[in-house]
Symmetry: D2
């Protein structure tokens, strides 16, 4: 219950430890929260998988009643138990909620959820706000936006950066595309799930921003792996080399925050056999989107294209589930593999 | 004369403007400087081109008498006029100085200066300290070190990062490879020319560090250009996209300090039609060294290799003299060229 | 008139030279042909542009009455003048012909022609044979095939290789995908327009074969250009180098039949300032299809991906309308540009 | 002894089995051979490894007495047993023979054999003909040629194409660089070991031709593997796809003579688990030479560079000893690995 969390955090900040005070405050917050909850209309949430689950929970914590749907009924059970409504199709969600968030794995799933036989568009109410947080092709976002608009509703694309951890702690970054006047409304909900909500421009630009970031990320990660590997083979100590790069023009997020070489930094996937983090398959998927966008806009992405193929190869060679920084391991000689 | 500079800067700091005081102080400093200069043995300097010239001048400012040589006599004139000794071969430098700095454009020039018919090795004195600040193949550095060692002298490789501006202001970064016990001695001289002097390990690791940094720099610059170009074509505002990348995992020196897209930042080459900065030809040269090092150590550099070819192409297409961030321009459509 | 052609070729085969016999035979064939023409039902032809125009004419020569449609009415005029029927939508074509050939520039045009508001599917008759000779995404071919099948008709993809010249002389190669039992029916028509009609397998495999061929073609053309350019710079005579490659393991169609270096061969685009031939834009388009197919099937195409980007760059640098072998020119130094 | 071989093969051809006849014939051939041998001056052979061994034997078969040297004495034993002279340094070879063939693995070995402390140049006689069949950097060939010329002798580079099998059967191809007037003299010897001896131009062009061929070969092999793999994933039968490519513009030696897909052709390494053939390590080495040549001549090799890195990666991933067509296996998904 949100009031418990608020009470606890309030007491922590104020350094109050008494149980009695806790109980008193909880009651006070209970009434305050109830009032504010009373004014909150339900929010639809479609897709409560690895990412969607903690995101939906953060909306609950902020007092939003939810209308849940997921193609896998098991994924919904937890929400049913917590007292939320679970329905049996995206259309049903649209019937009961006029603000809906979708969090789905691919373009195809998003199209199905919106335009499918039992899709949102079948029952969407005029004036509804539909926010798609899936990472998909910006062209698909634009198509969906057109169809949504025809029904008199509003569509925004709001893909996230940050993984499951950030989803849990409510620290995701949302990159939002859509009509600017609706941004504040979107921000109200997205702000419950993320610490950064950035307005990027017209529909599709949220996806575009995410795709461009991950394109550059993949390139600089592979570049870091290549430079570190070459340096080590030329006799440099990896920690020292990382230090030199980080104070020079080679500095990048992959070298200074997420170094791919085991032993250089603590608390990153390379320090833990490339477990956790952002999986190679997901990076390959995002680079596929970048490739498609580049092909359709006729933009040359010479290194990006190569990065895509490298992550594609890695998926074929047993790295699918490792963090994407494992490209360092992929490049090394077998002896040291 | 250093005492003049010291006097001027001292007066500036103290906000003294009188000419009489100036003359008095100059005399004081003259005696002080003379005394300190008296204790400084001459330093040899071979190669006083674009970079070597301001570097040598910074040694002068710190009171080191110089023994100068350059294959182009004209390059030496300025130093002759300033009262420094100019000699007619590297061998002659080695005869008169037991600390020598070489600053040459290519591996071949360095080999000639050391092992040529009138090279340093012909007359080098035992115990001399030879510092090569050229950017060359680390294998060549190692070869030279072996030959120098045979003569009872010490060789260190100390390539620089930072361009002509940093050379003038004494703000170069030196990456130094060689025997650790000699590092302090090298630092005494290099500290006069640079603000960062980093010890990297055995001979050749200075070159290795520089090469690895520039390899990663080239890759992330091209990556930044590709991501920015794709984003713009997908409808994003360039400034906003740069801001998003810089607060996300795509952040790198090329995106946050040296953005290649005109209009995003001030005071960088992209704001000035790619004039100045670090020329495409120089980047192609350094990537050639990275390629050679990767081939000889059998290290895969998939993106690095492609970056090398891209800069090679740019040189062939009229970008030789532009800053290396002009790769953004190279990627764009003709219409907007 | 086809009967003239038949007569001539018959006489040639039989080594008959008399003019009187020629006239007699022509008359005989005239009646035979007339009879067979009488039995020929009309064939629909949608898309009579650069390629479609000569293809449709070859069907006419073989005695097929045509039902023509093109989005540009001017393109149809020639056929109207020749006595063919011109209609005002793909749907109208489907109403009047139960065998239809489509020859369109992109996937989007093909989708419009089949599934659009006035598309073929609106009025297609049961049992119709629809042959798409456009070069498009094999996934789109499969989608169209499903929709066509729902209407009780048959769809085959039959992209061509060979340019406008081959289209005129009836020497195209057709790569055909679809139900095997219908291949003979397709062959009857395609054989009038091409000298090679190859059955490739299920729907979409015709496109797949074409895409794979052009992928390999692009790679080996760029490879030939790189090898020839490197050899020339290393001091080899281009003609001699081509000869050596062609008798060794480097031999390929691009080196022995379509050499990209001016002066090596006659009668190829490189001998004529890269005029004519297969345009860089078209190659970039086909590589885009290869890229999309590779992304959707998760097949790594490391060199193919790079080839795609190179042709993309060339389009941006003024090579759009030149033959794709002009990649040799693109790689050369500026001096010789 | 050649007469034994001749006798044996003669008897085999004539189906004679008697020992007495053997002895008689051997004597006859002995005299015949002796006479022709009498007119043949000895030929030096340095480097009798996998390739050098059968090459030297072919010279023996043609009646040339040999002066043998190899850094591994064991490699020479066989020749000693066969009655040839074995000496203890390249210098000794040069003392006893005025025609010398060198067949060594790398540039460094070649430099050592020529310019080392006991190298050929120490004792080379004026007018000697020195033929280097090693595959090395053309720049090194040129350097060696200069040094050899200073001693009044002649140097030619004559790298081979064709593997151990071709070396045994005397079917190698030699690509020869050097002064044209000396080509006939070189041809006399090389013709004993190869079926094709091609004059390429000035010193170094033999290497250049070989490097360019292998560069194009590597690119088209990877291209073939990518196109075949993509086609198979798109549903095409591999044999049919190969047939289509081979009758179209994708045709190349790698598709029509050495197809990398198991099951498409017989008698090639892909039919035998990629055993035998031309090893991945050797291809990586030759691509390293191409890379070095491209870097030093500033020639862009975009795909060649990538091919180099791919073979480099393969060496690191356990493919070192497999035939270079195993790149097809490298690209496939793990499931089917």
């Amino acid at each position: 219950m949100p009031q418990c969390d608020f009470t606890k955090s309030f007491m922590k900040r104020k350094k109050i430890k008494s149980k009695a005070v806790y109980r008193f405050l909880r009651t006070v917050f209970f009434f305050l929260c109830s009032r504010s909850m009373a004014s909150k209309t339900p929010v639809g949430f479609i897709g409560v998988g690895n990412m969607g689950n903690p995101m939906a929970k953060n909306l609950m914590k902020h007092g939003y009643p939810l209308i849940i749907y997921d193609v896998f009924p098991d994924a919904c059970k937890e929400f049913l138990d917590a007292g939320e409504q679970v329905v049996s199709s995206p259309a049903d969600v649209a019937e009961k909620a006029d603000r809906i968030i979708t969090m789905l794995p691919t373009s195809i799933n998003a199209i199905e959820a919106y335009s499918g036989a039992n899709g949102i568009l079948k029952k969407v109410k005029k004036g509804s706000l539909l926010i798609d947080s899936s990472t998909i092709d910006p062209m698909v976002s634009k198509e969906l936006a057109k169809e949504v608009e025809k029904m008199g509703a509003v569509f925004m694309d709001a893909p996230v950066s940050g993984g499951v951890g950030a989803a849990r702690s409510g620290n995701l970054t949302f990159m939002v595309g859509g009509v600017e006047e609706e941004f504040a409304a979107a921000q109200e909900l997205l702000g419950c799930m993320g610490s950064n909500v950035v307005y990027c421009g017209a529909v599709g630009t949220g996806q575009a921003a995410k795709i461009c970031n991950n394109l550059l990320l993949a390139i600089s990660m592979i570049g870091t792996a290549e430079a570190m590997n070459l340096g080590i083979r030329l006799g440099l100590d990896p920690k020292l080399l990382a230090k030199i790069l980080n104070m020079s023009s080679g500095r990048c997020w992959s070298s200074d925050t997420y170094n791919p070489v085991p032993g250089v930094m603590d608390g990153v996937p390379s320090a833990n056999n490339y477990q956790g983090g952002f999986g190679t398959t997901l990076m390959a998927k995002d680079l596929g989107l970048a490739q498609d966008s580049a092909t359709s806009t006729k933009s040359p992405i010479l290194l990006g294209s190569q990065a895509h193929q490298i992550y594609r190869m890695m998926c074929a060679k047993g790295y699918s589930k490792k963090d994407f920084s494992s490209v360092f391991q992929f490049l090394r000689e077998e002896e040291t593999f």
